[in-house]
């Protein structure tokens, strides 16, 4: 991108694939596993994508079905006036400078086909009315830009019509799957989740071993043995968190935080090895896949006979839970309106889904003075707060994590106003774009977030980026290593767990990462 005035109409600029600018295509075996159409070996950087015969009709028929089925899609296709308010709000546009990453133009990639085949003006006037026929070039463009959107919905905050660009991207991805065009980094975790209950592919014994290993570390650090249970019928609460929390750093420290917190308050809860994933890569695939993978949560809650479900630190999980689960797989009338057994607070906001976010739950505990906290244990950390796209924009979780942060660290600082809360910048690698082969793109799309972190690092000496999302914990770590290498990433519950004064604990010498604690009197 040179910044010069374009010499060609956007419709005449083809998408060019080269190593590093596309996610690897789904393996044949993965496409077969999901019983998706057209399993084959192919690569986006080859001319021939080996599309099935009559693929144009398959796409157009798929689009028609979705226009009939989703009123929202029809509205989003019709109501955009191309005002451009969204144009410079997208982290992918800011990071790449590619005009097709302006949300308005990304949507136009689909809208142009919609106009051509589904509106009177387009049928008559074609390109004059902004329409264009479905061609291989258009399909390739969809693949490129539907996978340079993280469905973060920052643009939608600024759209005067409230067009949900994430749902447009979701439709483009769904349509692409109809002809066998998808990415492995999404379909493989989705397959793992379907088969083993979680994205990592942790089988029940492995999941238990991993958690037990974290309990060993907790014992070494605090002298306290925590004893979580699995698949326990009759537990009051089912706890579901992203599987990365019990597999990879730095998520494992967040999981240690949960374990300490639950032990601290004597919570009657159980993990499940069946519903062992909070995240849902189905959201990044298709509505049907999302529904199927999500169904495990309520099914397991019912089987175990719990009263309600507590959810861990995951981003897109909460988009699914808060905006789709109730109508997809509900009503969960076999569960009770969540009530904290420690404070008796009734979470009316979760009266329908029966699922409470760990930050809401923790904030309520703090507010009712139920936790013994020593914030000085986090004195070596000077955090700033990253609002994860989905928890902030899709469920309005803005103040609870800040309230928790106020209590568990001596001091922390906000990033600039237009980069936080509803206007938060994406990590740049959500919706299954957190794969290594597009690392340069990820560092570009994460630049606006990294830039805001850099600002508070320079100004206040911030050294920690705290968040409540498993994808964030993995991707922001890579982003910080590149742009702000002195800043470490952690989950909020790690800070909570590290600050808790446990009954019968030994003198604390290190944090949950075995890092020495500075300036701490215990």
């Amino acid at each position: 991108m040179t910044g010069s005035i374009p010499t060609k109409e956007w419709m005449d600029v083809p998408a060019v694939f080269k190593e590093g600018n596309f996610c690897y295509p789904a393996k044949k075996s993965m496409v077969e596993y999901h019983k998706f159409p057209n399993p084959r070996e192919w690569s986006p950087d080859q001319d021939d994508w080996k599309l099935p015969d009559g693929w144009e009709d398959i796409i157009l028929k798929g689009l028609k079905e979705r226009l009939d089925k989703f009123r929202s899609l029809k509205l989003f296709m019709d109501t955009c006036v191309r005002c451009g308010a969204c144009a410079d709000k997208c982290h992918f546009f800011l990071g790449t400078g590619d005009p097709k990453n302006m949300p308005v133009l990304r949507a136009e990639l689909l809208r142009s086909v919609y106009r051509n085949d589904f509106t009177a003006a387009g049928k008559l006037l074609g390109r004059l009315a902004g329409g264009r026929p479905m061609t291989v070039g258009v399909l390739k463009e969809w693949f490129m830009y539907a996978y340079q959107c993280t469905e973060c919905r920052r643009c939608s905050v600024f759209c005067p019509y409230g067009i949900d660009q994430a749902e447009i991207t979701m439709m483009m991805r769904e349509l692409l799957h109809l002809v066998g065009v998808g990415t492995n980094w999404i379909l493989e975790p989705a397959a793992n989740s379907n088969r083993t209950g979680n994205h990592m592919g942790l089988q029940p014994h492995t999941l238990k071993d991993n958690v037990s290993y974290l309990c060993d570390d907790i014992e070494t650090i605090t002298g306290i043995r925590v004893e979580p249970t699995f698949n326990r019928k009759g537990a009051e609460i089912l706890f579901i968190t992203p599987s990365a929390d019990v597999f990879a750093e730095p998520g494992i420290y967040t999981a240690m935080g949960y374990l300490l917190l639950f032990h601290h308050i004597g919570l009657d809860y159980t993990f499940s090895t069946y519903a062992s994933e909070g995240g849902n890569f189905g959201l990044f695939t298709s509505n049907e896949m999302m529904k199927k993978l999500n169904a495990k949560m309520y099914a397991e809650a019912k089987r175990l006979g719990v009263k309600w479900i507590l959810g861990g630190e995951c981003g897109h999980m909460w988009r699914v839970l808060h905006q789709y689960m109730d109508t997809m797989n509900g009503p969960a009338d076999f569960l009770e309106v969540p009530k904290s057994p420690i404070t008796n607070t009734v979470f009316e906001n979760a009266a329908s889904t029966k699922m409470v976010h760990i930050s809401e739950f923790t904030a309520d505990l703090i507010r009712n003075n139920k936790l013994k906290i020593d914030p000085k244990r986090n004195a070596h950390r000077i955090p700033t707060w990253h609002d994860s796209c989905n928890t902030s924009r899709a469920m309005g979780l803005l103040d609870e994590p800040r309230y928790v942060l106020d209590h568990v660290v001596p001091k922390w600082y906000e990033m600039p106003e237009n980069t936080i809360r509803e206007k938060t910048f994406c990590c740049g690698s959500g919706t299954g774009l957190n794969t290594g082969e597009i690392m340069e793109l990820r560092m570009r799309s994460g630049l606006p977030r990294a830039n805001a972190v850099k600002h508070v690092e320079d100004k206040f000496g911030v050294n920690t980026l705290a968040c409540v999302c498993a994808i964030d914990r993995a991707t922001l770590t890579a982003l910080m290593d590149y742009w702000n290498p002195n800043v470490k990433v952690c989950g909020l519950s790690e800070l909570v767990g590290n600050s808790l004064i446990m009954d019968g604990e030994k003198e604390r010498e290190t944090g949950l990462r075995f890092e020495p604690l500075e300036g701490m009197e215990g």
């Binding site: 994205h199 990592m200 592919g201 290993y213 914990r473």
Partner: protein
């Protein structure tokens, strides 16, 4: 998908250079090939300890171990594993041992 020819054997690999069929196709020749890729001069007992630990774990669990479990099993801190396998436990050691690359929120 591509095919690698090395010392008279051929191996199917994915885009990241991991064995497509995993341990089924894994042999001594593959270890020698990855040794070259990784820029490892001498393959020592320490390397083999890591490879064996990864393979044993994979056979029982169908997945690579958490890095900290690998450290505990072998007795090598992460720093030492990086010294042994410059591109790290995931990309270097797992590739050499014939394990697949982990996916998901990692």
């Amino acid at each position: 998908m591509a095919t690698i020819e090395h010392a008279g054997s051929s191996y199917d690999v994915d885009e990241d250079g991991f064995l497509t069929k995993g341990m089924e196709e894994w042999n001594q020749g593959w270890v020698e090939y990855v040794k070259g890729l990784e820029g490892i001069t001498d393959l020592t007992d320490e390397h083999w300890k890591v490879i064996n630990a990864l393979q044993d774990y994979y056979k029982k669990n169908g997945i690579a171990p958490m890095v900290r479990i690998l450290s505990k099993t072998t007795g090598y801190p992460l720093k030492r594993i990086y010294e042994l396998f410059p591109s790290g436990p995931g990309k270097g050691a797992c590739k050499m041992a014939g394990l697949p690359k982990p996916t998901g929120c990692v």
